[in-house]
């Protein structure tokens, strides 16, 4: 019954979004005010409809309505309530519906907070957002309907994949989607500007804050994913260069290029075409990512089931969105030509360099991700893994780290390169000294770690000094930038340490046996059986001590979920400021109770995620820049005056 209501609302949502796609746009071309004014109410209506649809799906899970195919496939009577709720987005159908719900929220937010855009502008933006929503709603309805009915209903469900029965699942996908989908706003703005044939500072200033917000969500979503993989998958890794991880990382890289170029193009009439192009690229990569995740074309730990039809559907959407946007771009690029000249020795040049570096990184990672598919076509089976991605990324991050302080040092418009370099020389020395200290202190570092640690110190030293040098009152824009750049420094340092100074050891332990790893003693006190909620577990007890002093007792588990007949490793971790102690159980080796045990020491891994959080915080702080808010207010007043005919 409730499922039919959901189905009906889904159809209604599709109709509404189709109206949102058509009416304001027709209004724009016919110069019909009444039609253009339908944009805002329609987007609120769309939001209410899609949100209700989504909540109905959540209710179906809470009520355990097994007549709904999607519910019995991903839930069961034994599943605790909190995971029944999150099971809503635990598999394909629900997660695409959540995608649309999040997008509808962004659309409603855009309608609400766009006073500084004229009616003709906002109607185009909303209409383009409507095109995207319509495509994905059609995808939900025709290729992945979560409200399909099974008759007769099974008595019990198949249960949620145990890996997804975890706190990380509650927050990681929604936040990631907020970022992913948020980039559609920048895209819509770019396309709307192309349709109108002109783009000015106001547009970019307006778009910049939305891009910042989306980028912040994307950043925190990726960090949460990394943290989750680290503790949940039981291998202790934090990034696997898996195609699905790359799918979220690619828009992030393009988005990073975009927010930096926007900083230039909102100030002067330059890089306009490039800004528009980056916005198109960033969102296209989001759709491509959705394709990679959902089509199962690529081998990945995330691809649970493949469906070629779904893949094809998203590919068609991608072709329409990207192809359409690029065609428009080709037609209109002449009208976007930037008029202001760029001085070679200025911050603008360095911002351009930033975007070139990040876009190059985007494409090398994109190629690595897609190559297995291309080779597969020629019947060669290859895989591209960490060695390739790690090397490429390392090489591309060298110029990024070297140039970052220089970019922040140079002034806008015109400056002198050699003065800036001279000013930064002391920091080069500071970083060198600190790197050598680290090298000695940590007993040697390899080449990549040394470079990473140096990069971290170099950026940190210069960035802090630049903040101190700033005359007058600090503004949010500067504080945001400094925070984000310090985040980069912290990340570089911590990532280098975690990657290259970690210790991993697989050992065989009998009950009562002790093993020593890097000065720590690990005493194995055997394994007991425990039964918790919907699973049974064999729980190990491992006492960690150093110099006879007990530090912590860890209880890693080997869980067994009877419903899915699936075992799962649950690591136990002692999170520390300097290092994590990570223990997970392998398997029972003999009947005397000996187990294989994995012991990891991961230095500074928390700092790495903290660095990411700082980048996110920087982007959020920059939203409160007084300069951009003042300008926005002025724009809003201007729009209002125009409307009242005062000018």
């Amino acid at each position: 019954m409730l499922a039919s209501v959901g189905q009906f609302l889904l159809i209604l949502s599709l109709v509404t979004s189709a109206a949102l796609m058509l009416l304001p746009m027709v209004g724009y071309f016919k110069n019909n005010q009444a039609l253009m004014q339908t944009g805002r109410p329609l987007s609120y209506l769309l939001f209410v409809l899609v949100l209700t649809t989504f909540l109905i799906l959540v209710s179906l899970f809470m009520l355990q309505d097994f007549s709904v195919t999607y519910v019995w496939q991903n839930s069961s009577l034994a599943l605790p309530l909190r995971y029944r709720i999150t099971a809503t987005w635990g598999a394909h159908e629900g997660s695409v519906l959540m995608w649309v719900a999040v997008q509808a929220l962004w659309i409603a937010a855009v309608s609400r907070y766009s006073r500084s855009l004229t009616l003709s502008q906002i109607s185009r933006v909303l209409s383009v957002l409507g095109i995207i929503a319509t495509g994905f709603l059609a995808f939900v309805l025709f290729a992945s309907n979560p409200f399909e009915i099974t008759n007769p209903a099974p008595l019990d469900g198949r249960d949620l994949n145990p890996l997804l029965q975890d706190f990380g699942m509650i927050i990681h996908p929604p936040l990631l989607y907020f970022g992913y989908v948020g980039l559609s706003v920048a895209f819509a703005l770019a396309v709307a500007a192309l349709i109108g044939g002109q783009i000015d500072e106001k547009w970019i200033r307006w778009s910049r804050r939305w891009t910042n917000l989306a980028w912040a969500f994307l950043t925190v979503g990726i960090i949460l994913g990394s943290w989750w993989a680290y503790y949940e998958l039981g291998w202790g890794g934090w990034w696997f260069w898996d195609p699905v991880e790359n799918a979220s990382f690619l828009p992030w890289l393009a988005g990073t290029a975009l927010i930096h170029v926007q900083a230039v193009s909102e100030r002067k009439n330059a890089f306009r075409g490039w800004t528009v192009m980056l916005a198109i690229i960033a969102f296209s990569l989001c759709v491509l990512g959705t394709f990679l995740v959902r089509s199962g074309s690529i081998t990945s730990v995330h691809s649970f089931a493949a469906d070629p039809f779904r893949g094809l559907f998203i590919l068609v959407l991608l072709a329409i969105y990207t192809g359409g946007a690029l065609t428009l771009y080709a037609l209109r690029v002449n009208q976007l030509r930037s008029r202001d000249a760029i001085n070679l020795e200025s911050r603008e040049t360095l911002m351009l360099a930033n975007s070139v570096i990040f876009i190059t990184a985007t494409f090398t990672i994109l190629l690595g991700t897609l190559f297995p598919m291309i080779f597969d076509y020629f019947n060669m089976k290859i895989s591209v893994g960490e060695p390739y991605f790690g090397l490429m990324f390392f090489l591309l991050m060298i110029p990024m780290a070297v140039l970052l302080p220089l970019g922040a040092q140079l002034k806008w418009h015109r400056d002198q390169m050699h003065t800036a370099i001279k000013a930064l020389l002391p920091h080069f020395l500071v970083a060198s000294v600190l790197t050598i200290a680290c090298y000695v202190g940590f007993g040697g570092l390899n080449l990549r770690a040394t470079a990473g640690v140096f990069g971290g110190f170099w950026i940190a030293s210069a960035t802090l000094w630049q903040l101190k040098q700033t005359p007058g009152q600090l503004n949010a824009g500067l504080v945001g930038m400094t925070t984000a750049h310090m985040g980069v420094a912290v990340f570089l340092f911590a990532m280098s340490m975690t990657e290259h100074k970690d210790i991993e050891k697989d050992v065989l332990l009998k009950p009562g046996q002790t093993t020593q790893v890097a000065g720590y003693d690990f005493l194995f006190n055997g394994v007991q059986r425990v039964a918790i909620e919907n699973y049974q577990a064999q729980q190990g007890t491992i006492v960690v001590s150093k110099n006879g002093e007990e530090i912590v007792t860890l209880h890693p588990q080997k869980r067994f979920y009877p419903k899915q007949q699936m075992p799962m490793t649950e690591a136990d971790i002692r999170a520390g400021v300097l290092k994590d102690i990570y223990v997970s159980l392998g398997e029972q080796i003999n009947d005397q109770g000996a187990w294989s045990v994995r012991i990891y020491l991961k230095p500074f891994i928390r700092w790495m995620w903290f660095g990411g959080l700082m980048m996110m915080a920087g982007a959020v702080i920059a939203l409160f820049s007084r300069r951009s808010r003042r300008m926005e207010r002025q724009q809003a007043d201007q729009v209002m005056q125009d409307r009242l005919g005062l000018t």
């Binding site: 890996l163 081998t299 730990v301 089976k381 060695p387 075992p567 392998g586 080796i589 294989s596 994995r598």
Partner: protein, 148 residues
Amino acid sequence: MTPTRKKRLIMVLLVALGVSLATAIFLTAFKDNIMFFKSPTEVAAQDFPVNRNFRLGGMVKDGSMQRIPDSLKVQFIVTDFAADVTVEYEGILPDLFREGQGVVTIGQMSEDDLFIAEEVLAKHDENYMPPEVADALEAAKPQSKEYE
């Protein structure tokens, strides 16, 4: 040349240099770091990279799993039902590693025809078969002993 033109020329040259450098690095990194997938049949026919890691995939043969006492060393046979390869691995096997299930291993062939695996991967879903393994099994079908 006017100063603007000169500036533009420098810009273009810099970009061209950057692009060619990036391409060169990309090609080198790519050539050295891709990994080939081979089925047991291909390995039996000596069609595999020597002294270099590759991926070997197939089914873990029923009853082939052996543990070397008092160590984490295991041996098992990976088969596509047409040819067998014995794999040796030291370490912790993934949760879903089981006899009669699909598996992908990464490592090199040793001189005594043993595949020394550095990594063993089994997928995180009961019903999921790695696509390469599915294809390898499909390709081996005509010669498979089961179909004779």
